[in-house]
């Protein structure tokens, strides 16, 4: 006897703005959070961030501070601050802030890396500025599980809590594993999602060196796409035993019915259609969903030449010949690549698209690439009645996680 898993709370922050409502409204309107950066490092003149990025220029922590006091947010790395803001929203949305149930809830939260800005500041002090010490909170601010601990402390969550890291699939894996916990009856409520803050200078140079970043913008599945655009932020979902959610009259956005994962055992950066396809098929099998069911695919859709071509091959392989009944969205074109938080924000936006029966547009599209001939959502936001959402995350290092949700 397993429990069904409901999605009962949503929260997010990205370059599009704070709150799910803002992000969703802007995604539907076809607005893009990517801007052209030209930022010099305040201490090291020769370092510049020059190019397109989806950066969060300011974070409003007033709602969290009103709940928990100013001291909570004063000493946070941006990655934990993003996590707190998104999770506070998700728990408010789920009617769970201060709820006694949280004492037994679980947290599974993802991130590709943690506390990069804090680490960079520490290195800058000792390696460049000739200072002898780094900030005394450097260790607790940079540990990969820092955000999880902050969430637990802030919201009084005393169940099983841990971080998951699988590069750009981190938060999708986190949601999947949290869902398995709810399904197995190990917890009634699980807080899941992810956060990443990798727009510090060191991370910027690392991504530049990888030559994966687009010089212009993010154009998923488009001809002449040139790469990904770095973003940052967090997204959180509340997963809950469906009966528990119904009993307390919670808003149920969707039911999470399928989780599939795989690893490519292939290349450190190049995607594998075989590996990714295995994850999609596993999610379909877990969901018990027929492949001819009309679905909305929230694609991994990074905008790199290789990812989008491979993802096309994967989805064509899984879905079969008649693709017109499905629709593919790729919201990285609006909020950039949130790395470890990407899977979660794309799941959140996908769930809303499923619920409202619309397909928000893929932005910056220049024209058909014959190798990416999927039924893409282009132009304006259009009505699209899907029976289920398929949310793909295919990470560097060949770690794949796919989530399938259906309307309730």
């Amino acid at each position: 006897m397993t429990s069904r898993v409901a999605v009962t709370g949503l929260g997010c922050v990205s370059a599009l703005g704070q709150t799910v409502a803002t992000n969703w409204t802007r995604v539907k309107a076809g607005e893009c959070g990517i801007t052209s950066l030209a930022q010099a490092h305040p201490d090291v003149e020769r370092l510049v961030k020059n190019g397109p990025a989806a950066q969060i220029d300011s974070l409003d922590t007033s709602a969290v501070e009103a709940y928990a006091g100013r001291k909570v947010t004063a000493q946070l790395d941006p990655v934990a601050a993003f996590a707190l803001v998104a999770t506070h929203e998700a728990l408010l949305d789920g009617g769970l802030v201060g709820a006694p149930e949280l004492a037994e809830a679980a947290i599974v939260y993802g991130g590709a890396s943690g506390g990069n800005a804090t680490l960079e500041e520490g290195y800058l002090r000792i390696l460049t500025k000739g200072q002898a010490t780094v900030h005394p909170l450097t260790v607790p601010k940079t540990m990969s599980s820092a955000a999880v601990s902050q969430l637990s402390m802030l919201f009084g969550v005393r169940g099983v809590a841990f971080a998951i890291s699988s590069a750009c699939a981190s938060s999708a894996h986190a949601i999947a594993e949290a869902a398995h916990m709810v399904r197995a009856g190990r917890t009634k409520i699980a807080i899941a999602g992810g956060a990443d803050a990798s727009l510090n200078f060191g991370s910027w140079y690392a991504w530049l060196a990888l030559q994966a970043m687009a010089p212009d913008t993010c154009r998923p599945f488009s001809i002449d796409r040139k790469g990904m655009v770095l973003g940052e932020g967090a997204a959180t979902v509340v997963l809950e035993d469906l009966e528990h959610a119904r009993a307390r009259g919670a808003t149920i956005y969707a039911e999470l019915i399928g989780m599939g994962g795989s690893s490519d055992a292939g290349h450190l950066t190049a995607p594998s259609a075989e590996g990714a396809g295995k994850a999609v098929r596993a999610a379909y099998a877990d969901a018990g969903l027929a492949v001819d069911t009309p679905v909305l695919v929230s694609a991994h859709g990074t905008g790199t030449p290789l990812n989008d071509k491979t993802e096309t091959e994967v989805m064509r392989g899984v879905l079969g010949g008649d693709l017109a009944r499905h629709r593919v969205i790729a919201t990285k074109s609006a909020h950039g690549h949130l790395l470890g938080a990407g899977g979660a924000i794309e799941f959140v936006l996908g769930v809303l698209a499923l619920k409202e029966a619309v397909a928000p547009p893929i932005l910056n599209y220049l024209g058909l690439d014959p190798e990416c001939d999927l039924p893409l959502a282009l132009g304006a936001c259009q009505p699209f009645e899907a029976d289920a959402l398929v949310s793909n995350s295919f990470a560097f290092g060949g770690l794949n996680s796919v989530l399938i949700a259906k309307r309730v």
């Binding site: 100013r70 000493q75 000739g130 200072q131 002898a132 900030h135 005394p136 909170l137």
Partner: protein, 93 residues
């Protein structure tokens, strides 16, 4: 330029997020909710602000705001006045 008690109290208030008016001469750090790791963070900020270096042994017995202010003011004003008040010690290389 010498470092005043007010200069030090401003930094403590900013770092500890305690209202400046609560930092009275007889207030204990404990009563203000300033715990051991908070003290280390405050000292870190004071070192940066006033260009000084404190060994842990110099402040480990501190229990009141006044004691901390005394230590910082004395240390800062005993240090080479040329470097006092700088944001950070000069680079070594």
């Amino acid at each position: 330029m010498s470092v005043t008690r007010d200069n030090v109290l401003d930094v403590i208030a900013q770092e500890s997020l305690v209202e400046r008016s609560a930092l009275t001469s007889d207030a204990t750090l404990e009563s203000l909710g300033i715990q051991s790791l908070d003290i280390i963070s405050i000292v870190f900020a004071l070192e940066d602000k006033f260009g000084i270096v404190l060994e842990q042994s110099e402040f480990e017995g501190v229990t009141t705001v006044d004691q901390l202010v005394d230590i910082i003011v004395n240390k800062a004003n005993a240090t080479d006045t040329a470097s006092a008040g700088q944001a950070a010690p000069a680079a070594k290389t």
